[in-house]
């Protein structure tokens, strides 16, 4: 699997969106009534799901134990590993 520029930009998008979700989760814990933040959270959650579906269709599973689809072949242990990327 060749690590193209598109691969890295898609991965960065996923990281950025997930970071925003972490921040919003912590914010919503102390501001449960903030409907704007909740709307933003739901919007980013849907977008994150969409990005990850796209990533997994192109580059393989992100999570294990059924949290990601198995794909055509059981090759999650194939390189590159996260620290090699």
């Amino acid at each position: 699997m060749e690590l193209t520029q598109e691969y890295y930009s898609l991965l960065e998008d996923i990281q950025a969106v997930d970071f925003v979700l972490v921040e919003l989760t912590l914010y919503l814990d102390t501001h449960p009534g903030d409907v704007n933040a909740l709307a933003q959270f739901n919007q980013y959650a849907a977008y994150s799901k969409q990005l990850k579906a796209r990533y997994e269709s192109l580059y393989g599973p992100l999570l294990q134990y059924g949290n990601s689809l198995g794909g055509e072949s059981w090759d999650w242990c194939k390189a590159p590993w996260p620290w090699q990327v």
């Binding site: 960065e12 998008d13 914010y27 501001h31």
Partner: protein
């Protein structure tokens, strides 16, 4: 000690003079710095604060510019 006017100011870094006694065999340390991040001065986070773009937030470590706290080593100045 920290100067009174500095204590309440929303500065990310503050300093204090380390006491050095005449009988102290070691060389004087002089000034030491300590970090005072913005969250100390904000209290309960207000609603609808301005936000960074997602990628910028990932780089800067926070979603809100108000809480951004860049560290540059005061000892290296």
């Amino acid at each position: 000690m920290t100067q009174p006017h500095e204590r309440l100011q929303n500065t990310p870094m503050k300093a204090y003079k380390v006491f050095h006694a005449p009988t102290d065999p070691c060389p004087p340390i002089g000034v030491k710095f300590y970090s005072t991040p913005p969250n100390l001065y904000v209290g309960f986070q207000p609603y609808n604060l301005e936000q960074f773009a997602p990628k910028e937030a990932l780089r800067k470590g926070t979603l809100w510019p108000v809480f951004y706290d860049f560290y540059d080593n005061p000892y290296k100045k």
